[in-house]
Every structure is written in C-alpha cells, then in structure tokens.
C-alpha cells in the first residue's frame, strides 16, 4: 500500500513537473553559449519563469517519494515501474488538455504498461 501511494506521487508529480519545466525552458529560450557564467545566467533567467517553480516544486515532491520508495525496494524495480508516467502523460493530455492522442501513441503506452506489469510480477 505504501509502495502504491509513493508510486502514485512519483508518477503524477513527476510527469506534471516535467511538463511545467519543458514549458518554462521554451519560454527561457535556446542555450547557445556553454561557458559556465553564461549557463548560470541562463539558469537564473529560467528561474524567473513561473512554470519553472511549479515544475521544480512538483519534481521535488516526486524526488522525496522516490527516496522513500528506494528505501523499500530495489532500484532495478523502482525506476522501471515509474515508466507509468508515460501512461499518466497520455491520460493527462487526453483528459485535462483535451489533446487528440494518436493510436500509435496509445499503442506505445500499452506496451509500456505491459513492461511495467512484468516488472511488478517479477517482485513476487
């Protein structure tokens, strides 16, 4: 039960956080200068975007849940089952963003779910 709760937080908060960070980075602009000082300036610029803070907050929640899960289970079990985030992403896009999710993408999500099921079964 604890594992299921932690996995839920990892998947939902992790996926939401990644989408927020992705949106923030598109707002911050492309990185063209890789010198350390320029990278620091870029990170500071990205931190001025609200989506970045929302994303970092959600990813922090996912991170602490991941720590809790890693205390309970093997890393070769924990990380693969977090691939359920692909299913959460597709469902979220369909339900909340009202996007059309292509049959091929649903097929990919289904394959991921089959793989996660096998990983879950390998624990027994």
């Amino acid at each position: 039960m604890r594992e299921a709760f932690l996995l839920f937080i990892i998947v939902v908060a992790g996926t939401g956080g990644e989408l927020c960070v992705s949106r923030a980075m598109k707002t911050a602009g492309e990185v063209t200068d890789f010198r350390p000082a320029s990278l620091v300036r870029f990170v500071l610029r990205a931190l001025r975007v609200g989506w970045m803070w929302a994303g970092v907050g959600m990813m922090a929640m996912a991170f602490f849940s991941l720590l809790g899960m890693l205390a309970l289970e093997a890393v070769s079990f924990v990380v693969p089952v977090t691939a359920l985030s692909y299913a959460a992403g597709a469902l979220g896009a369909k339900v909340f963003l009202r996007e059309r999710v292509s049959p091929q993408r649903w097929a990919g999500v289904f394959i991921v779910c089959v793989g996660v099921t096998l990983v879950l079964l390998s624990k027994r």
Binding site: R98, R100, G108, V112
Partner: protein, 138 residues
C-alpha cells in the same frame, strides 16, 4: 549544414549525459537509502533521525549531484530539442539502471524483470516516434 551537424553533436552529447547520470544518480540514492535505518518503518518519531542520516550520507549527496548533472543536461537539451524527441531517446536509461543495479549494488534482476524493462524501452521508443502535435490549434 555545418550548423545542423553541430546541433546533432551537442544533442547526442547531452543525451549521453542524461542516459549515464540519471541511472547513476538513482543507483547512488538507492545505495544511500538502503543504509538509512528506520527509513522503511515510517514512524513519525523516527523521521528526524532518518533525515539526519539522509543528510549525512555521502551516497545521497553523490546521487543528488548526479541527478543535478542529469537535470542541467535535460534543461539545456530541451531549450532547442522537442520534448517528444528527448523523451524516447532517454528510454535507454531504464536498461542502464538495471545494469548498474546489478553491477554496483549486486541486485538480482530476474529474467521476467529484464524482459519487462526491455518492453518498457520499446514502448517508450514507440511513444516517442509519434507526431509531437496531434491537435489542431485554433
């Protein structure tokens, strides 16, 4: 043409950093958390002691540093590459984490789990081969 080659090179370099440092970070965190006594009990009174041990574990800090390296590479590559391209390319990290778990932590990876991980990599790859935009903008 030269610019396109340069974009490909820097994209591959950043993806390589992501594929190495994300699994390495998770393995180090796993090693650190397994050494924390009381972390699995979830007793409210033990949380402070757990937090102290987590903060004092070098494996946790090395794991955080690895994940930060991954995160910077991820942020940087997303500034020019599509999320829908980066996501499938990073699918190999699921296989790398199992390999590192086996090699560095001595974790057992039964055949069923290995098969599941291979199928997950395939599924993530299929998801990433779909068009990034399937909804018409008004």
């Amino acid at each position: 043409m030269r610019e396109s080659k340069s974009v490909h090179l820097k994209t591959y370099f950043m993806l390589a950093l992501m594929i190495v440092f994300a699994p390495l970070g998770n393995v180090l965190l796993g090693k650190g958390m397994k050494g924390v006594s009381g972390a699995a009990s979830w007793q409210p009174g033990a949380l402070l002691g757990v937090a102290r041990q987590v903060i004092g574990s070098p494996f946790i800090w090395l794991g955080v540093a690895s994940l930060l390296t991954f995160f910077v590479a991820y942020m940087v590559v997303l500034s020019w590459a599509d999320y829908s391209y980066v996501q499938p390319a990073s699918s190999f990290s699921y296989a790398v984490v199992a390999l590192l778990g086996y090699l560095l932590l001595g974790e057992a990876v039964p055949p069923l789990r290995a098969a599941g991980i291979a199928i997950i990599c395939l599924g993530v790859f299929v998801v990433g081969r779909t068009p990034p935009r399937t909804t018409e903008h008004v």
